[in-house]
Amino acid sequence: MSVWFTSLAVLLLITLAGALIRVWRGPAPADRMMAAQLAGTGGVAVILLLAAATKNWLMLDVALVLALLAAFAAVGFVKAASRNGVGDPEADEEAAP
């Protein structure tokens, strides 16, 4: 089973590399951000598979942290992209009908 899990993790890493091509190419900032989000979810899956492959289940804690903070970059992104740098897209929609 360990070999199966590690092989899956390798394939998943290669898939992530595909997502990173979209981060590189863009073109919109939103594209880059969403591709990074996919890389984040994939990274969580890689960690889960590593935990299963090594039977070191304490690694789940790291996956937990990454899942908890998965949306942080996106929140930072929409803040930076909003008009005043500290708003959110919805507040902007209200302010500029």
Binding site: I47, L58, D61, E90
Partner: protein, 314 residues
């Protein structure tokens, strides 16, 4: 075999992502790659069986540093393109590339020359772990064997915060830290900011508590608590504190002060930081809890930046 393949693919990815982060076409792309980079490095730490480090890297690399850099990016929006900087001239670039390659090669040669069976300080830690009061060797090193480092680090955090605050404009002094966040009431962001903190709080406290026997501790837990506080602030759920709030300042220095007090009390047993084995567990736990709180608040304030409120939040 398959393990080596995994290591090679992961390392190739790390190097590619790092390359993209330092030489990406524009600043935003570079920042996004840097966030992905933190994730990849966290996986590398797991492969080196350093779960404690992976936790810290995941919380800081994927959480706080990304928000910090994206926040700075947002403030650069009004700068015209001509003043956003560029590459240095090509001849200089070539010299730098050669120097950097040489440095990498030198470090690589040193690594290869290293005794492949070197044990480092593993025997020393194992021999003394029973006296440390905790079962997680990393926590034992952080809060007992090398407590000096940790104490100084907690002071570095306070000094960095003082540094950030001194950059405030005179007119903003006494105001709330950071900028006024404008968020639509009960919108997506605010709902998310309400849902996540209870879970994050639970996870952060779990890490602080678990740190004595398994990966976790004041830094890992404190960083997660900082991230949770930061999210609540960015979601406009509570107004950021004022810089001259006495309780805020007290909570920033409480951790270092308790730590220092315990260190000095150690002189009664024979020297700075000498923790008697039977009291060590209780002392370490007390330091961990207070320190985690101070670290959480300090890191949150560091990311929010100096006070620059222009209006009072409603």
């Amino acid at each position: 075999m398959i393990d080596s393949l995994f290591d090679l693919v992961l390392c190739a990815l790390i190097i590619f992502v790092a390359f993209a982060a330092v030489s990406g076409r524009d600043l935003f792309t570079a920042i996004v790659f840097f966030i992905v980079y933190g994730l990849m490095v966290a996986i590398a730490w797991l492969r080196l069986e350093a779960i404690d480090v992976a936790l810290a890297e995941a919380a800081i690399g994927a959480g706080l540093t990304g928000v910090l850099l994206l926040g700075a990016y947002g403030r650069f929006k009004n700068i015209d393109a001509a003043r956003m900087g560029s590459w240095v001239p090509l001849p200089v670039l070539i010299v730098i590339a050669l120097a950097a390659t040489g440095l990498s090669a030198a470090v690589g040669v040193v690594l290869i020359a290293l005794d492949p069976n070197g044990l480092g300080l593993i025997p020393a830690v194992n021999a003394n772990i029973a006296q440390s009061g905790v079962f997680n060797p990393v926590t034992a090193v952080l809060l007992n064997f090398r407590a000096y480092d940790t104490l100084l680090e907690s002071i570095v955090l306070v000094v960095a915060l003082v540094g950030v605050w001194t950059l405030a404009d005179n007119s903003a002094w006494g105001q709330r830290v950071g900028k006024t966040q404008s968020v639509r009431a009960n919108g997506v962001l605010q709902s998310f900011g309400r849902t996540l903190p209870p879970i994050g709080l639970m996870i952060g406290i779990y890490f602080v508590w678990a740190g004595s026997s398994q990966p976790g501790g004041a830094f890992q837990g404190g960083t997660i608590l900082a991230a949770v506080g930061l999210l609540s602030a960015m979601a406009g759920l509570f107004p950021p504190p004022r810089v001259n709030d006495a309780r805020l300042r007290l909570s920033v220095i409480a951790g270092p002060i308790l730590f220092l007090a315990v260190a000095i009390a150690g002189t009664a047993w024979g020297g700075m930081f000498v923790l008697p084995a039977d009291l060590a567990y209780g002392l370490i736990l007390a330091i961990e809890i207070v320190l985690a709180l101070s670290i959480a608040i300090t890191l949150m304030l560091l990311v929010l930046g100096p006070p620059e409120m222009t209006e009072t939040p409603q």
